[in-house]
Assembly symmetry: C2
Homo-oligomer: 207 residues x 2
């Protein structure tokens, strides 16, 4: 990678590589992209998986509406263009954090396949782990923890995913967790088991 | 922090705190914001400081033009509004990485005091460490590693900081490194020494 050099080119031989960061952290940086309807359980699974990883000594982080929509993306609305830009920026931030060696969980409805595929394309092979958090619309609407479905049905929220805007389920996600027929613990075990089995929880060989 | 909950509220008691992440990493998340003229040595100092920290087992990361301008901020130009938005986004990303427990070095000219102060305001007390990478315009122009000053003098780069656009030096930076009269090693020792002395290289007590 070409660096903005200044006084002393020899320092650049000393640039820390991704592999070194991963070795130091004892893991491989990755983006675990949770997608699903509002109320499907994305944040619950993300937060619980982060907890499980940190308890095992891994460096993980959750990007969600709370820390993104009020910060980096607070100047974006909900137009189609802004939704796409929202997901693009989240993808770029997740890429930087993954490059820093972190295991990043992203918890966003991200209803459009093209937006998710664009994030996948940003990352290197195996760095993007798409997790479809699957629960039927009936189940999600039945939970309605934040009362959003009720508002959407009343026409108070335009273009609400699943009600008045489409949700495009992943066609070939790395993982599907069925939150309507398994416990949070089971979903987390599935995610962490995948990370373990695929070698994300130890540094890449040769790093 | 209010979380987007779904199925199981009890999991939220398990949300990983910043303090826990910092304890696990053995450090305090922080943003070391390097500001200075083109050619002042910001990236050289950032990359060498990252190296020094990683060699000591710390998790650090450099945000610079290479990983930001071609990624997150590739849809921004160089108008005053876009420059401000550029720095704002970098500040928000640095904030997320710092919240994840990393020590983040940012290497951008960031010529405007108001833009830097806006980033400081995003962060909590002590989380923003402004480092003025100081070298005279003559020195920077004399180095001109990338030939940018020559182009700017020839009128080929409009609004080039120091030539045709202002640079507002920090008034009360946490640190000043004088790259025109000390070696890279000395500058790095100064930065790392500051982090050490202020306790950033061990987790906050009570975390």
């Amino acid at each position: 990678m070409a660096k903005q050099t200044a006084t002393n080119i020899t320092w650049h031989a000393g640039t820390v590589s991704r592999g070194e960061r991963e070795k130091m952290l004892g893991q491989r940086g990755a983006v675990v992209w949770l997608t699903g309807l509002s109320g499907s359980g994305k944040s619950t699974v993300a937060v619980a998986a982060e907890r499980a990883l940190v308890d095992r000594g891994h460096a993980a982080y959750v990007l969600d509406g709370d820390n993104i929509r009020h910060g980096l993306n607070k100047n974006l609305g909900f137009s189609p263009e802004d939704r796409t830009e929202n997901i693009r920026r989240i993808g770029e931030v997740a890429k930087l954090m993954s490059d820093a060696g972190l295991i990043v969980f992203t918890s966003f409805i991200s209803p459009y396949r093209s937006d998710r595929d664009a994030v996948r394309a940003l990352l290197k092979e195996g760095e993007f782990i798409e997790v479809y958090v699957s629960a039927s619309l009936d189940t999600c609407e039945g939970r309605d923890v934040k009362g959003l479905y009720k508002k959407a049905r009343a026409g108070q929220i335009p273009e609400f995913t699943g009600i008045s805007a489409p949700y495009e389920a992943p066609e070939r996600p790395e993982l599907v967790v069925h939150t309507d027929r398994q416990t949070v613990e089971e979903s987390v075990a599935q995610v962490v088991g995948y990370l373990e089995a695929k070698g994300y929880l130890s540094p890449a060989s040769g790093a």
